[in-house]
């Protein structure tokens, strides 16, 4: 008997079907070996697939939403799924089948359904009852996207400019000290006055 778990957020629900990994002494209501998953979006065709498709699809949604919010070009492309924005409120999802004769499935969703879907994925990620193995595809993010995601604030960028400014100031002032020594000049004046 397989376990079923349902994650629900307004107009979207995600069903996970699978078995616990008894070799790891897991509870009988746990799911570690996923045999099937179904993503149901109201008024849209059912999306379902094998376990190896779930993580890439989740990653695609997460990466796409990051690009959208961080004001970068919202396009995500992979072997399995493409997501791009028609405009600021409509998103085009193209799901490509691994079977050769099956045409790609195109679904248009708005921001409200996009947030519902991502919230369903968040519930799945946070659920202690399901364990999903990391996929290989997370490493095959397009270069442009990867650059945007791995953008880190470098501490050296903050400290280097003032440090350079101070050191150059010291260097310049040191050279001018060699040209003109006010102490020596004062002493000379004193000698002249005493004469």
């Amino acid at each position: 008997m397989q376990n079923r778990l349902l994650f629900h957020q307004s107009s979207v629900s995600l069903e996970i079907i699978g078995l616990p990994d008894y070799s790891n002494n897991e509870n009988k209501d746990q799911i570690s070996i996923i045999s099937q998953w179904k993503l149901t979006i109201i008024d849209k065709p059912l999306i379902e697939g094998k376990i190896e498709h779930l993580r890439p699809i989740m990653d695609a949604f997460y990466n796409y939403s990051n690009l959208l919010i961080n004001n970068e070009i919202p396009i995500f492309q992979s072997k399995l799924i493409d997501i791009k924005a028609d405009n600021i409120y409509i998103h085009n999802i193209t799901l490509k089948s691994s079977k050769p004769d099956v045409k790609p499935l195109i679904i248009k969703i708005g921001n409200s359904l996009l947030s519902d879907t991502i919230n369903c994925f968040d519930q799945l990620n946070e659920s202690p009852k399901v364990r999903i193995k990391e996929s290989v595809l997370t490493n095959i993010i397009p270069k442009k996207v990867k650059f945007g995601l791995s953008k880190k604030v470098k501490l050296s960028n903050f400290f280097l400019p003032p440090l350079l400014a101070i050191s150059s100031l010291i260097l310049f002032s040191y050279t001018f000290i060699n040209f003109y020594n006010p102490v020596e000049d004062k002493e000379k004046n004193v000698i002249i006055n005493t004469k």
Partner: protein, 126 residues
């Protein structure tokens, strides 16, 4: 945040406001405000979703978006420094649609238990 007055006082550290105190917000205050925002966005998710939906289907519920936008512009006019170019961007029609949609979407994506971390990352990358 020891009490509500502290939150109320923090508003004056927003440089876009008319009465603005030239004090930088502390990191703990920044984190506390994010936590409050995430809690509020969790509570207001059905409304946020409805507003986003009304923009997608203007022929059905278009009035929800226009009411929301009107109230937003009213509040900005009332409380923000209208001489600032950044404030003007907030209420200029074609530009403000995008800012509002992205802000609402960011809030609606931060309702999970990891919402605090998500919203913090969004804000730091902004």
């Amino acid at each position: 945040m020891p009490n509500k007055v502290t939150i109320w006082k923090l508003r004056n550290k927003n440089p876009l406001r008319k009465s603005y105190m030239n004090n930088n917000i502390k990191l703990e205050e920044f984190d506390a405000l994010i936590k409050i925002t995430v809690e509020m966005s969790r509570y207001l998710y059905p409304y946020t979703k409805k507003i986003l939906q009304s923009k997608e289907e203007p022929e059905k519920d278009g009035f929800i978006w226009s009411d929301f936008n009107m109230r937003f512009v009213e509040l900005v006019n009332e409380r923000f420094n209208m001489n600032s170019i950044r404030v003007k961007k907030l209420i200029n029609q074609p530009e403000n649609d995008e800012i509002l949609i992205k802000s609402l979407l960011a809030l609606s994506l931060c309702i999970s238990n990891q919402g605090y971390q998500k919203l913090r990352n969004f804000l730091l990358n902004f």
